[in-house]
Symmetry: C2
Subunit: 279 residues, 2 copies
Amino acid sequence: MFKISDFARLSCVSAKMLRHYDEIGLLKPAYVDPVNEYRYYAADQLPRLNRIVVLKELGFTLEQIARLLKDDLPADQIKGMLKLRRAEVEQLLHAQQARLVQIEARLNQIEREGQLPSYEVVLRSVQPMRVASAYAVVSDDKEIAQLLHEVETYVAGHKARAAGPPLVVYHECEDLEQEVEVAVPVQGAVPDDEQVAMNELPAVTTMACVVHTGNYDAICQAGEALCRWAQAQGYDLIGPSREVYLRFSAPKSMALPAEFLARRPGESVTELQFPVAKA
Amino acid sequence: MFKISDFARLSCVSAKMLRHYDEIGLLKPAYVDPVNEYRYYAADQLPRLNRIVVLKELGFTLEQIARLLKDDLPADQIKGMLKLRRAEVEQLLHAQQARLVQIEARLNQIEREGQLPSYEVVLRSVQPMRVASAYAVVSDDKEIAQLLHEVETYVAGHKARAAGPPLVVYHECEDLEQEVEVAVPVQGAVPDDEQVAMNELPAVTTMACVVHTGNYDAICQAGEALCRWAQAQGYDLIGPSREVYLRFSAPKSMALPAEFLARRPGESVTELQFPVAKA
DNA sequence: TTGCTCCTCACGTCACGTGAGGTGGC
DNA sequence: TTGCTCCTCACGTCACGTGAGGTGGC
């Protein structure tokens, strides 16, 4: 019989860990002195402890190890747990590889530009959205702002609550003529008129997003950053892109109603969203 | 300004996480209502949050992210942290790959034998050890047991405390003649005589160990398991092997003193130790 | 007798998730 | 007014590490 520190030395497992394994019932000492509660381990407990150590190195949790070490556990179940673990490790492996690629991309990028990128691209999935929206073919941002104002006024006029920031969906582009859908998410519904109607924007599984802050005229920079990112990561654009106005501040050149501008102080904040998929 | 749930929806970061980031000072809301403590976030806080999300995906801790986001952090430091992270990820990657190999080996093994292996091999490093030991050329286990008894008696006779289980080091082997060192670790020292002397067993960085329980005559099975393991893992034997008697029970054929046997009840437990290195 | 070893709490780790219980806002 | 949202605790996670404070063993 060995005292805990001797058994710890023999097995290269710390006394604290041995106490922990005792506590959770994974490896009970062969004998516990009833007077002073000293733990005593028998030599033939070492194989079990070694097995615990090895299974831990394979990445099993202590709870899983306890299950694996039940002596009546059929080989099929053991195989099942190993296969599960294998799948998890493969998963982790791919995640780490992806990480490594991202880190290296960032290192290269910082090498070139001397700082963290000005635009961060994040992937997310967006839910379907009920919107009041108006379609139009426009060639100018000013027209979009104007239309947006109209849709918002219409929604407000019908006592519907806006359920999120307004946005524009860029449907088709021919020459300089752009078909856009100017949309305001709403809870509930508003009646249709000739211009505004209730629509549902579809869900998008993988949306690449980038936020542009400041002068709206420079938003094309954000778009370029997003395109470069998609290219580098091997993503393709697979649907109409969106522009979400998280904070709206119209360029000075736009003559918009004063009350419209007053409600949107500070620099504009716009999010570009590109539906993408791996090429 | 957005309420926490709106900002959570926009960013795909849970409200709980936002509160957490507030608490640790990573992302404070732009405004907190002094009356009801409601948090309000500004649209232009989204780029920072996106950056947090992206850096988290790279595997940085929140504390590291906080450091990375200090606006006066020089590019060199950012590069340094990225390189450090890259090294860690590469490390993890290799560890996962090694794991995967081990898991697959185990799956194959269980496929063949229908159960977990009877012997678990573990790697550990062993410290140098002060021992009282006797050299001998033997051809029979019985002689070893006899010699061990003599060394133990000698140590006990000089009132030295045994500092661990006795062991045998297998130094050289020619034909059937085996040069062995029978050793008892001691604290302090004993005087030398013609047979027993103080020696130091060297440290071993990588010792492949396997525990054999039960009939000592079958210990060669453990040795074979260890050899197969070393072969499969690409390890070479690089020094004299050891046999540690964690619990000694002599085969019936050995005529050992009764008092010697009486102190060692139950089945014998022996650990084989092979110093190894990657081929 | 002295120092060493063992014991049992209790707290910390890391990044939140999950209630509990209570209050403000539309 | 009702239900929704927000708030602050407090506890749990996972596998221990790190003391604190006290007692037994040689």
